[in-house]
Symmetry: C2
Subunit: 346 residues, 2 copies
């Protein structure tokens, strides 16, 4: 019997719908199944990635300033381009908005979009607005460029490769938890002023993510060519699974090596959430997760803002984490993926 | 004082939001303002176009079979690529669906998407599904390729150029009128069987539009290089305005030359709609509107399926139509554009 959408999960659904796809063109180097498609139309490769952000699923207008929303919509697409080790060059933007929005509101969204374009030197080459009878939807497509020898897929991780992650994890998830809590407080008692001062770091991680262009540039300076790379949009566990599945490998990471900011830990403990769970399953951190050959250990081991969290193993060893207590746990058991994974960021 | 969204209109809004855009990259040949963006990454040019289809605005699931919806979503994007005189090569698809849809339903949409990909030899290179709490949204981005000397913009029309249109117009609009009428009949009396037999032609025009690859191929065989081209998605009037505005020209078309299918006329008269109004303001015909040098008259004048409907004039003469009675009317007066132009196709 056919599985349901829920049983398949988001990634299973895409695999199911796009399996056995016939490709006609030599210019299609890589289709469905990575952070971006890869096209060959000239000296360099092009990467193309698209994201659909839906009100109520990916953002809540109650606590998302419109300018931040526009900025973030661009940022998450650029993050996918950087995850191919490519540089974004052009974006198109489609916006569906209901009649309740004023011109000022749309201008705010575009101000955020254009700020991100300026900061990351990306050309806005297509714009489209349409009406919507329900919520707001933003669809952005980004085109980037990368030298043929520099493109990085999810599928290139090899045994004994080091697993590295940029920045710190779990903050964006704790940010959205704080926002949801304050939304509830506001509903219950509108006269109470929100208490957000202690949460500046995690709120910033949620509302103002920056794509990690600097990591791509750093790797170039260090002369490190990652063997596999992905951006952390759905949580560390999910992304490790993607890399291991596409590379036909397993991995072992160490709980104590997962970088978590002190403010993320404080917020998590206050809300009775295990900080490591926020890092593994939270998502939306938009940090870079990548693997490098063991030979590159000296190049990456003492770099500020990079953490080596584990290594790639044979496939038979699964996708595992060694806890601080020395126990080996199967990461799948920690709640990886479901079709409503986005629900978490509501 | 700032204008409202309604005052600006859809195209005015995009102009407003994207004015003074800073471009960083030499690879950006043409940004906002044509059927597609044009990028230069190699020997040939790339065109990139994106469309967002929103349930309740662009389609009504009450009378749109899901497979047709998937097919049409691809078709309208390919139409934009052909309108640049380019050939589509790759598409990405993003789909937001609510939990009420079964896997079967999503498979139906994808069956339509893949059928269109097969028929037009386009590679599906990116797929993304997400949940939605409200209606369904489909966002498709298409990438196409065109030789540098063959790309056609909206802006190249010159005085005395002939204005040509492929196929016939107004049918898709009459199709949606029939569907809306039957929906109302069904609401009022669910036991009445819909009477659709007499409307096969116009229904097909609405539900199964085909992008005009054959027109692009025909022009190539005829060795005709259009000076300007656009696909007819919003109605003949709207597209004439786009070409005249971008080319800094005016035009004169002849009512009697506008190609309208006999079944479109029958349906329009039955519903007390002027067939020419359906052609001018209806939209969704996805025919090609293009201009050619007067020298090419002999090449295009006796071609089946092409109609010469008028010519380009100096800008000072405006965008006009000579009626069958010999009267000159300003096309703007016929109701061109509003932010809710899409409402018509509900």
């Amino acid at each position: 019997m056919a599985k349901s959408i829920e049983e398949l999960g988001e990634f299973g659904l895409i695999d199911h719908l796009t399996k056995d796809i016939k490709l006609f063109h030599k210019s299609t180097v890589k289709g469905v199944g990575d952070d971006a498609a890869v096209l060959n139309y000239g000296k360099n490769l092009l990467v193309v990635t698209t994201d659909l952000l839906v009100e109520g699923v990916h953002f809540d207008l109650v606590y998302t300033p419109l300018k931040h929303l526009g900025y973030k919509a661009v940022a998450v697409n650029l993050s996918d381009v950087y995850a191919m080790n490519a540089h974004p060059k052009q974006i198109t933007v489609s916006l569906a908005i209901s009649g309740k929005f004023s011109l000022d509101a749309v201008e705010e969204i575009y101000a955020g979009i254009r700020l991100a374009c300026d900061r990351y030197q990306v050309d806005l080459v297509g714009g489209d607005t349409t009406s919507s009878f329900t919520g707001m939807t933003i669809s952005i497509t980004a085109v980037g460029e990368v030298e043929k020898k520099k493109v990085v897929y999810r599928s290139g991780a090899k045994e004994k490769n080091l697993i590295c992650v940029s920045g710190d994890l779990g903050g964006a998830y704790m940010g959205v938890q704080v926002l949801k809590r304050e939304k509830q407080v506001f509903k219950d008692a509108p006269e109470v002023q929100p208490e957000l001062d202690n949460y500046q770091y995690v709120l910033g991680r949620q509302l103002k993510p920056e794509p990690r262009r600097d990591v791509i540039e750093l790797l170039e300076r260090l002369e490190v060519q990652p063997t596999a790379m992905i951006d952390i949009s759905d949580g560390l566990s999910s992304e490790l699974f993607h890399i291991c599945q596409k590379s036909d490998m397993g991995c072992l990471i160490y709980e104590e090596k997962i970088p978590i900011h002190k403010d993320t830990i404080t917020a998590a403990e206050e809300m009775n959430i295990h900080p490591v769970t926020a890092a593994l399953d939270g998502g939306e951190d938009y940090e870079m997760l990548f693997t490098v050959p063991l030979n590159d250990l000296d190049k990456v081991k003492d770099v500020d803002g990079l953490s080596i969290i584990g290594y790639i193993t044979d496939k038979s060893e699964g996708v595992r984490m060694q806890t601080k207590q020395g126990e080996l746990v199967d990461l799948k058991a920690l709640g990886w993926k479901s079709f409503d994974i986005d629900e978490k960021s509501k």
